[in-house]
């Protein structure tokens, strides 16, 4: 608790240090807290809940007025439709999901492979105009990506990357590399350079020293950084919409958005597709949660 100078040097009788608000509020206050938090949770979680409900309702229940909260028949038809085409075979949506996996995965790997060594180099070596370079790298993230959609589109048309998964992978990597460099530099700074020095005195080259001693210590940081990069690539909508058109290449976000419109919208399918879309990232973040927490707290303890 912050204490003002006057309080700190006050010479009068010792004060009761219980904050007045808490004393007076007591039980009433905590009830209010719980009520507000509950309200907030409902507002935040209701869309998610409604999405999940819609995904397991039959279509006539989806459109029912008044809306049915509990008394509807549960069906998994929509989930089947996400993956299986009504005419048999794989559905277009399932192809989109596969594309999303490929594009997000590849761009994350690429950004990590490029960004981690770069972060190491910026952290360890005296580079000419290092601060300016780092600022320039960061500055590529200053503007909203939408601003460059049209130039990118024209450039991609010239080199034939329109409607091409490689094109998406490259552009997502371009957005993720600066982020990776900046986030990883923080982690590398935390790993004492002496490990590498010692390893070099023990007969390793600088790169071997990095790979054998620094890299293993960076794993939590890399995991945390990769999750963020993955989430960005997975969720990206604008470039995916502009740069892809065919079902073979399209990633899930524009594909799901494409389900809306036309004469009728199959809301059950949209909801089911959205749930399927949200799951991988949730699961992934859950699996690496330890690393995420380790990543967040790495800098909190002085060595």
């Amino acid at each position: 608790m912050a204490v003002s100078v006057d309080e700190a040097v006050a010479t009068g009788p010792a004060r009761d240090h219980t904050p007045p608000a808490r004393r007076r509020g007591g039980r009433g206050r905590s009830v209010l807290e719980v009520a507000l938090l509950t309200l907030l949770a409902v507002v935040m979680l209701f869309p998610v809940l409604w999405m999940i409900e819609t995904s397991i309702k039959e279509n006539r229940d989806v459109y029912a007025i008044p809306a049915k909260f509990f008394d509807f028949t549960i069906t998994l038809d929509h989930y089947r439709d996400v993956f299986v085409d009504p005419d048999g075979g794989r559905s277009a949506l399932s192809v989109s999901f596969l594309n999303s996996v490929v594009v997000a995965g590849a761009s994350t790997v690429l950004a990590t492979v490029l960004g981690v060594p770069a972060a190491w180099a910026y952290s360890r070596f005296a580079v000419k105009a290092k601060k300016d370079q780092l600022f320039f790298i960061l500055s590529t993230r200053f503007m909203p990506p939408v601003v460059v959609v049209i130039p990118i589109f024209l450039m991609y048309r010239q080199v034939g990357l329109i409607d091409n998964k490689l094109g998406l992978i490259l552009i997502y990597s371009a957005f993720n590399v600066p982020f990776t460099i900046w986030m990883m530099k923080g982690f590398v700074d935390e790993v004492p350079a002496e490990y590498e020095d010692a390893a070099m005195l023990d007969g390793y080259t600088r790169l071997q020293a990095f790979r054998r001693f620094t890299l293993p210590l960076l794993v939590p940081g890399i995991a945390a950084t990769a999750v963020f990069a993955l989430i960005f690539s997975w969720n990206e909508f604008v470039f995916a919409t502009f740069l892809t058109s065919s079902d073979d290449v399209r990633t899930a976000p524009p594909a799901i958005a494409g389900l809306i419109g036309g004469t009728t919208t199959d809301w059950g399918l949209v909801a089911a597709a959205s749930v399927v879309f949200a799951l991988p990232v949730l699961v992934f973040a859950y699996l690496v949660r330890k690393h995420l927490i380790a990543g967040v707290t790495l800098g909190a303890v002085r060595r």
Partner: protein
């Protein structure tokens, strides 16, 4: 063991910073050589250049007879101890010690023998099966020292090895390092910013400032006759009093009337500063023989001694070290007199010792 020769060392980083401007060192075989200086003076860069962790921009480094400029660190046959101990976190003490030997490809029995020998020297017995995080700072540093020992290198390089330890442990480790160095007859280059460490450990001390060597000498030489105003202000706590003086009637006279014996060979027509250690002055009763009138500005009771800050009408207040039995209050009128021998005298414009 081998001596180390550093000739005209210069290190400039790609971003333009000059870390080492010009350094010449000649470190004897079996010598404990201390490089002392404030942060950014180039001492660590010089050490890292000797280790091969930095490539110098110009200049030569020889270890023994070998010119090592182009040798990678591992081939220079040296061991280094770091401020942050740099023990591999995933290895037990035993394996940390064995690591450099295994990297060298020594046969198992020899590795075993050398590890045990180093462990015995540093008394690591109970710590051998622990990982670094299970060791205290002092224990980690002992393991780090042992890790340097097992290599049986031609020289030891120590980069502020005690800075991260608390004061009491630091004093113990200082004794331990000094003892070890003497026993092994090892060449040791020791970098520190702590003058107490430098004075107590070093056979010789090099004082570095702004990438240059200001002075090289034994601890006593460095203390008694600092080679420059920088050294005079850096060594000693409290530091030397630097008193502006004029030559008159064959004596040095400060503005406040303090009279000092001039050293022979003083140049004429220069502005001079006399360096007077706080223990070479004395605070006495006012009007005492050969004293000038002065006033006590402040008093620091340190228990084993008292530091008086005294104004005697000079440009700067002077510090006087007195035994705790001599007591004057703040603002007391006192007499100040010089009891030491010939002071060191510096030229104000060149900042160097002139006599």
């Amino acid at each position: 063991m081998a001596g180390i020769e550093v000739t005209a060392l210069h290190k400039r980083y790609p971003d333009g910073t000059v870390a080492v401007d010009h350094v010449d060192l000649s470190i004897g075989d079996g010598e404990l050589f201390v490089m002392l200086g404030p942060s950014g003076c180039g001492k660590t860069t010089t050490l890292r250049a000797i280790a091969g962790l930095e490539r110098q921009t110009a200049g030569d480094i020889r270890i023994g007879e070998t010119l090592v400029n182009d040798l990678p660190p591992a081939e220079r046959d040296i061991a280094m101890v770091f401020q942050f101990y740099a023990l591999y976190p995933h290895l037990k003490t035993r394996d940390n010690l064995a690591f450099p030997l295994r990297a060298e490809g020594l046969p198992k029995p020899e590795v075993h023998e050398r590890v045990n020998e180093a462990a015995r020297l540093m008394r690591l017995g109970p710590l051998m099966d622990r990982r670094p995080r299970q060791l205290s700072g002092g224990e980690q540093q002992r393991v780090a020292l042992a890790r340097a020992l097992v290599r049986r290198p031609r020289a030891f390089l120590m980069d502020e090895p005690l800075t991260n330890l608390d004061a009491e442990l630091r004093a113990d480790m200082r004794t331990e390092i000094k003892h070890l160095q003497g026993e092994l007859g090892a060449t040791m280059v020791y970098v520190t910013h702590d003058q107490v460490e430098a004075m107590s450990l070093g056979h010789r001390i090099a004082i570095l400032n702004k990438g240059r060597v200001e002075q090289i000498g034994t601890p006593l030489e460095v203390y008694d006759r600092p080679a420059s105003l920088f050294c005079a202000a850096f060594i000693g706590s409290p530091p030397m009093n630097l008193i502006e003086v004029e030559v008159a009637d064959g004596k040095l006279r400060s503005q406040g009337g303090l009279v000092l014996t001039p050293p022979p060979g003083l140049p004429r027509d220069r502005r001079l500063v006399a360096g007077v250690r706080p223990e070479a002055l004395e605070v006495a009763e006012p009007g005492a023989e050969e004293s000038v009138p002065a006033r006590v500005v402040s008093v620091e009771w340190l228990g084993d001694e008292i530091i008086y800050v005294v104004d005697h009408g000079g440009q700067r207040d002077v510090r006087v070290r007195m035994p705790p039995t001599v007591r004057f209050a703040t603002d007391a009128k006192v007499g100040l007199r010089h009891t030491g021998g010939t002071p060191a005298v510096y030229d104000v414009s060149t900042e160097e010792l002139v006599a």
